[in-house]
């Protein structure tokens, strides 16, 4: 699904965030990305939805090299990648329903399909009863579930989450991870950067550890490996 070869990323300010990444992630995998702050986890993730381009090397997704992908094709790449952030990125003036529908409206999906898909995905994240609420009327965990719902409503092949539980308490975090696992069990590839030792060590999955822009460890059913 994703294959990175010799990937380096140097930002315009001179910081080298990635320093020779080689990795393959296969369809249907669930992958944790761990490592200290500033190690390059977010940069690694940004390459996968072409928020950033590698300075050197290739990032091939489903046979397409994102390093050379034409600007006008980027939107179509992103329709197959759902992204979830620590800060939810919901629009405060739109209701829960509208926030999710938004992702389908901007890719010009038909209104009928929008309604059906949004209700389906609200059911999956168990927030059907809050469809008419505004984001600030929800708890952090609920907001993150909405943002996940938005990320998957278009049924992407890949969901990437950059510290999705970073702002949440442990119980709520588990709700989020269980939803991601549910999505993964339906065949979607999931890549999740996290600082949660408890989650990584409990729900055993593949762990990729990044330090100073390099992959220092890559284990199936791995451990978190850092003092939380």
């Amino acid at each position: 699904m994703i294959e990175m070869k010799g990937v380096h990323k140097k930002y315009p300010n001179g910081v080298t965030a990635l320093n020779g990444i080689n990795v393959s992630i296969h369809k249907g995998e669930f992958v944790y990305v761990v490592g200290p702050s500033g190690a390059g986890k977010s940069t690694f993730i940004k390459l996968m939805y072409r928020e950033e381009k590698p300075s050197k090397g290739s990032v091939v997704m489903n046979g397409v090299d994102l390093a050379t992908l034409k600007e006008r094709k980027v939107p179509y790449l992103r329709r197959n990648v759902g992204v979830v952030f620590q800060d939810f990125k919901l629009l405060p003036k739109l209701t829960v329903y509208e926030n999710i529908a938004f992702a389908l409206e901007v890719i010009e999906e038909s209104p009928k399909k929008i309604r059906r898909k949004v209700m389906e995905v609200l059911d999956l994240v168990k927030l059907k009863n809050k469809a008419r609420f505004l984001p600030n009327e929800l708890s952090g965990g609920e907001q993150q579930r909405i943002s996940i719902a938005r990320a998957i409503v278009n049924r992407p092949g890949l969901v990437i989450a950059d510290e999705p539980t970073g702002n949440l308490d442990p119980d709520t975090s588990w709700d989020i991870v269980r939803i991601l696992e549910e999505i993964n069990s339906r065949g979607t590839t999931v890549v999740m950067a996290t600082h949660s030792k408890e989650i990584v060590n409990t729900l055993k999955k593949r762990v990729i550890a990044i330090e100073s822009g390099r992959i220092v460890r890559d284990e199936l059913r791995g451990e978190y490996g850092y003092e939380s």
Binding site: Y49, E51, R72, P75, Y76, L77, R78, R79, V83, K89, L91, F102, A103, V106, I107, E108, R150, N154
Partner: protein
């Protein structure tokens, strides 16, 4: 801010409209005059047939000359008598002993060259006198030419300013919606999809801005035309007819307004959509 932008478009279009009314009417006058400009070369009374043929060849060889016609002194007299009407009858006495010269009537390709050509002809042998459009007409030509350039520069500067103001206004809307646009991009909206509301916003500002100028043109030119057209006594001078001129001009202003708006939006959105 939106009001300021629409106002800038309005001001620009009013000035452009005024300028065009003036310019196009002046152009019309100049064209009327241009069609009539000719050089009359009076041939010396002493010139023989061969001299006249030689002169004809010399004039024909001036590159700018487009028409050359011989007019005998009999024809000249006839014309003079006709042009004088009743009083001209007195000149009929001269028919026996015609005091006029034979002449060449010369026209140039471009009326602007009249003066140059006339001066050249003046130097040839057997040329008695060269009569051509007066200084006033020359000044009119020059003014017209000059006004065209100044006006064009002026219009371009105004259009640029208005487009700049519109683009700034749209930039503010974009800033206010930057989070929304960021999410749009994240979930795979195409740039053209993101762009079109701003495109419409610019277009709308341009069209709104053209309403007042068009009303002023339609009303003002009607008033001008009705009140001035019949009073103008100068030769060559007449106003362009209200229909279709005022409507064509209105349409042009609308087009310029729309152009300003769309261009303003394109300028501000282009930068923002990178990456």
């Amino acid at each position: 801010m939106t009001l300021a932008s629409v106002g800038a478009v309005t001001t620009t279009l009013i000035l452009v409209g005024l300028f065009l009314v003036l310019m196009l009417n002046l152009n019309q006058v100049a064209e009327n005059v241009e069609e009539d400009v000719e050089i009359k070369v009076l041939i010396d009374l002493t010139a023989k047939e061969t001299d006249i043929n030689k002169l004809e060849n010399e004039i024909r060889n001036i590159p700018q000359v487009s028409m050359l016609q011989f007019s005998s002194k009999e024809e000249e007299l006839k014309q003079l008598i006709e042009s004088m009407g009743e009083e001209g009858e007195a000149f009929e006495l001269f028919e026996q002993d015609n005091p006029l010269n034979d002449a060449f009537i010369v026209k140039t390709e471009d009326p602007i060259d009249t003066f140059k050509v006339a001066e050249q002809i003046m130097k040839f042998d057997n040329v008695g006198e060269v009569v051509y459009a007066e200084d006033v007409i020359r000044k009119l030509f020059e003014f017209n030419q000059y006004a065209r350039y100044v006006g064009l520069g002026f219009i371009i500067a105004l259009v640029l300013t208005a487009a700049f103001l519109v683009s700034n206004t749209i930039k503010i809307t974009i800033m206010a919606r930057s989070k929304e646009i960021g999410i749009m991009k994240l979930v795979g909206a195409t740039n053209s999809f993101i762009r079109w509301p701003f495109f419409i916003e610019g277009l709308l500002m341009g069209i709104l801005g053209s309403i007042l100028p068009i009303a002023l043109i339609l009303g003002g030119y009607y008033y001008l035309y009705e009140n001035l057209q019949d009073r103008i006594q100068f030769p060559f001078v007449e106003l362009l007819p209200y229909h279709p001129f005022a409507f064509q001009l209105s349409f042009l202003l609308l087009a310029i307004g729309a152009f300003i708006g769309v261009w303003g939006s394109v300028m501000s959105v282009r930068k923002f959509l990178k990456v």
